[in-house]
Assembly symmetry: C2
Homo-oligomer: 630 residues x 2
């Protein structure tokens, strides 16, 4: 199993693990002040790049899959380090290279790579996070001096939550509305949000530069190794060349040029370059889930409590309730593993081919998987803590810091509720295409094949089939997922159309919002299941394939059972079939429990990475008592 | 509304708030080391008792409702303080008074009260938490010296997670198996778990006493102001009088006497005295939920993001998705408020009357409400953080510490999964009684009245009623909740009977465990709804009553919708009725949103208690920017 689960870049992950294992001085203690943590995190990053010879910035462009593998690995050392690295290379570095042109690459690449230029990504403002087009910071072109003037016009426009700003950053990519001088009465034309490189601290003295105020955003729920700060600009001047001008440029005489026709298209192209961050978060979130589920499963096998009268106590994983908490979670971890591996593959392909269809697919898929998986992992971390009882509450057993650090994955790089709506936007576009006879992107093929089937009444015979063979047939499972998605999509279209008449497009969207979010989740689940089924079928070894099939069946039936109301309501399953699904789900939990240890072992997380004493592979209790000094 | 919500003991809560507001030096900073936090927490407790003149220990016995009100209030200052106070007065103090006799009260009461004797409650061991009867620590009676010898026989028996042990405790109530000398070949008879007062530190030097090893359990996910430690005893001797001998005593010549006939009964009586802790946790958990929902609702009203084209942005609470996250939660907070007020009342009554039926009712109800409410609050804290986006992640906005501190409420004083099974045990007893013609306890009356109705097929006419009047009729709502509970109970009995034949009682219980847990939750929800409906109907002011009715309807219909699969599966609701319930739930969310500000204001939490800048009642953004130094 471990062989089949192993990625292409396991080797570099092992290098990361070995490096930190060899440097106990770089390991983050359980209790550490914010200020010390930030300095430690910087030393960790410097060590990684300059000593261990890992060069994340190069991988970003040469082999994104390798970059994501490194990000997952360093995140499991300390999630603050993972995020600090992401700020430096994916956000700051990525924005310079992806939104800039050759002159920027020549000037900045090497020094970003070797950390001489630590930088920030200054997009979010106090009043605006999700609504990036509503940003208030301005960059006014001064024709006389050939400079942009960066300004914070009001309190709400203060750049907020900017990683690397409070302590280490020398530069920031600042997102601001580009204002160009005109001859009309307004005096300026708003060209939409653009990105500018702004030096924020002196290269030698590290003093904050004139016109810039920096404040520390302070203590956070987690990720306190990342120095988030707030930036306020009072008419800060930067040369014209500091505009990151790949999608839009300003000439010496103040004329605007762009290969893209509208503000909307330029904005979409700009944000489109940032999609890698979402891919990375989805991927790393699965890494967090693997650690958490490994600790919880190992402890649940170890821990014994109660039992039949006059017999030894039993493992708590032998309780149906504990299986119910952890086995579908373990199955989901496998499902997400294959789905995010596929996403990384597609992303790498997109970066090579720039094929428009792949671009659209990756955008929608990365938004959906990031939202769906990070929400799931966040909930699971709490379930794992609770499932491990009092010992789950010891900081040394990891659930607290994993949860606190991971929590914000649901919000940054796109709020999950907003991202799911992007998925819906794509679905509706695809739906329209279908009925106009166009082609659908790969992820959507299933709709073309079967939309009309799904919209007819369910077959009254199959709705009554209850046999295990039928319920464990991938085609039944996929059909159920896709049936649900298709119904939700079709009814969403009808409802949106109906409400638009009275409420307008925005009002109608809001009136249907819960429905739309359910639709997005349902679609993502369909994609995840399809990828899981493919992974089962492609597995060459029979024993491994059988085990994977078991896990995949649990994933599928547990999801169907969770939404049994919908299936019952349209009579897609008859009452007795619903009961059979429930019964089989419980039975599969019990079956997966019997191979649970092997399934978590296959994640190949060394003890020095999982670290939690209660989740160690040998003598966990003794290591735990030794840890507190007995 | 605030008048109707106000408890009898609001005045003492205000005294607590005012005291801490007047002592900024006693307020817990956001970032504080574990060791400093523990000392601060002790100073807070000393200040409360010795300066502010609050005497929690007296209220425990004189007026439990007053004690719980103080516990809720100090918990909202710093939850560590709430728990430290609970350890001192409810656990350590409570065990001495409730399990001991007059001699113990005379000797210890005053010094526990004034904090001269800080103490611990040493029940949990490394290997045993939930299974208290499995504790391994021994207390062997030494006839020669008239002493008990307290001993930790193995690593697994080390007392673990003991509050007050790591730093401040002078004494501990130690739970251990009482071993009495016999003349047979074993030499000792195991009389079951008893409680003993054991001095652990020297009164003057504060040195650990001989034979005792104390270790620090270390940094925790939360509650780091409480000094949890581990205790290991090597043949520590205490005089015979240190046995807390209310339910069982040992005479000078080593004879055991008790008013209760069996080990099981004595064990139940001993644990029964600890039920107050669960009442307090359920009550304080609602307090935490009120703070959290207040901050989240106020911020969601303030925060604007996106909007119709060319119009101002709208409050995020105007989004259906945000209403969906927060409005049922607000409704649940109200529901839990009334349910826990009722529980506190019943508990106070029990403490006065010792009526056996009330005792049984309070035991089951406190177990159920503690489990149900703390699980709900724990989930809600994560939802609130996520609903408040990036600013919800600033430590100053509270969700992180509230979640981390509250998290363990799900585990201590009885693991929630275990407590729900106690509720089921009571339900099955009641079920048996019913069919044997006996009386049912108050909470169970509904079963007697209608069990047979519920077990027949649903009325095919009412299953199709979809009108708003019908769906908002309390008798429909209660009927739905009780129908579900009755069905689950009846089918559980049948399934347990069937499986017992092959699997034995323990195996059958485990085979049905998920079912039993759902049954327990369903019963608790029925009780909560019944109390809420009563509270609506008893409200004298019409406007307030109407608003409460709205909130109550949302609570009821949201719960029904959440389990719509079950209702559909037995055709309790027809497909179109299910849709109508869903639609009305969304509409009620929208309606409650329009009075959301007033509903959270009615909790009467002053700004210096909620504290989160984003949840303040005036100029939250400005206070937030000032907080970070602009």
């Amino acid at each position: 199993m471990s062989e089949y689960m192993r990625g292409k870049h396991t080797e570099i992950q092992e290098r990361v693990f070995d490096y930190f294992n060899s440097r106990p001085d770089l390991q983050t203690p359980l209790e550490i002040s914010k200020d010390e943590h930030r300095e430690l995190c910087m030393r960790q990053l410097l060590g990684l790049v300059r000593e261990a010879g890992i060069r994340p910035f190069r991988y970003v462009f040469e082999d994104p899959a390798k970059y994501f593998a490194v990000a997952e690995a360093v995140g499991s050392i300390d999630m603050s380090l993972g995020i600090k690295m992401g700020v430096q290379y994916s956000l700051w570095g990525g924005s310079v290279i992806n939104l800039g042109t050759k002159k920027h690459k020549d000037k900045y690449f090497d020094k970003i790579d070797n950390l001489e230029y630590p930088g920030c990504f200054a997009m979010t403002e106090l009043h605006h996070g999700s609504n990036v087009q509503g940003l208030q910071t301005t960059a006014t072109f001064d024709l006389m001096r050939d400079e942009f003037i960066i300004n914070t016009p009001n309190e709400g426009a203060i750049k907020w939550w900017i990683g690397n700003a409070a302590v280490h950053g020398k530069f920031a990519t600042v997102f601001a509305k580009l204002l160009l001088p005109t001859h009309d009465e307004k005096g300026f034309a708003d060209m939409g949000v653009h990105a500018f490189i702004v030096p924020i601290r002196d290269m030698k003295t590290h003093q904050t530069l004139p016109g810039i105020e920096i404040r520390d955003c302070g203590y956070k729920v987690g990720l306190n190794g990342v120095d988030n700060g707030a930036l306020k600009f009072s008419s800060v001047r930067v040369p014209r060349e500091n505009l990151l001008n790949r999608f839009g440029d300003v000439s010496r005489d103040g004329k605007y040029t762009s290969s893209l026709p509208t503000i909307g298209k330029r904005f979409a192209a700009t944000l489109g370059e940032l999609v890698g961050g979402r891919v990375g978060l989805a991927y790393s979130s699965v890494g967090v889930l693997k650690i958490s589920v490994t600790i919880a499963v190992r402890y649940s096998l170890l821990r014994q409590q109660f039992g039949p009268p006059k017999q030894p106590e039993i493992s708590i994983l032998d309780y149906q309730s504990q299986q119910h908490k952890l086995m579908p979670m373990l199955a989901s971890t496998y499902a997400f593993h294959f789905a995010t591996s596929y996403l990384v593959e597609k992303y790498s392909e997109m970066k090579k081919s720039h094929d428009e269809e792949v671009v659209g697919d990756v955008h929608s898929l990365s938004a959906g998987l990031k939202a769906y998986i990070t929400s799931y992992t966040a909930k699971s971390l709490s379930v794992c803590r609770e499932a491990c009882g009092g010992h789950g509450y010891a900081a040394v057993n990891r659930f607290g810091s994993l949860r606190n650090d991971h929590d914000i994955f649901q919000t940054f790089e796109g709020d999950n509720t907003v991202l799911l709506q992007q998925v819906v936007g794509d679905l509706l576009k695809q739906y329209k295409k279908k009925f106009e006879g166009g082609t659908l992107s790969v992820t959507w093929n299933y709709l073309r094949e079967s939309m009309s089937t799904y919209l007819s009444q369910p077959n009254p015979v199959t709705t009554r089939w209850e046999g295990e063979d039928h319920l464990r047939d991938p085609s039944f499972q996929l059909d159920a997922f896709r049936y649900r998605t298709s119904r939700l999509l079709h009814s969403a279209v009808l409802r949106l159309r109906k409400h638009s008449k009275n409420l307008g497009a925005f009002g109608a969207w809001n009136r249907c919002l819960n429905h739309l979010l359910t639709l997005a989740e349902s679609h993502i689940e369909s994609v995840i299941l399809a990828k899981f089924i493919e992974a089962v079928q492609s597995c060459p070894d029979k024993n491994t394939r059988d085990a994977l099939k078991l896990v995949c069946d649990l994933y599928a039936l547990d999801r169907i059972w969770n939404d049994i109301g919908t299936y019952r309501n349209v009579d897609y399953v008859a009452p007795n079939k619903a009961k059979a699904i429930h019964k089989l789900t419980e039975y599969l939990c019990y079956q997966v429990r019997s191979v649970a240890r092997e399934l978590v072992d296959a994640f190949e997380l060394p003890d020095h990475v999982t670290r939690a004493p209660i989740g160690l592979q040998s003598e966990p209790y003794t290591q735990y008592t030794q840890y507190i000094g007995f």
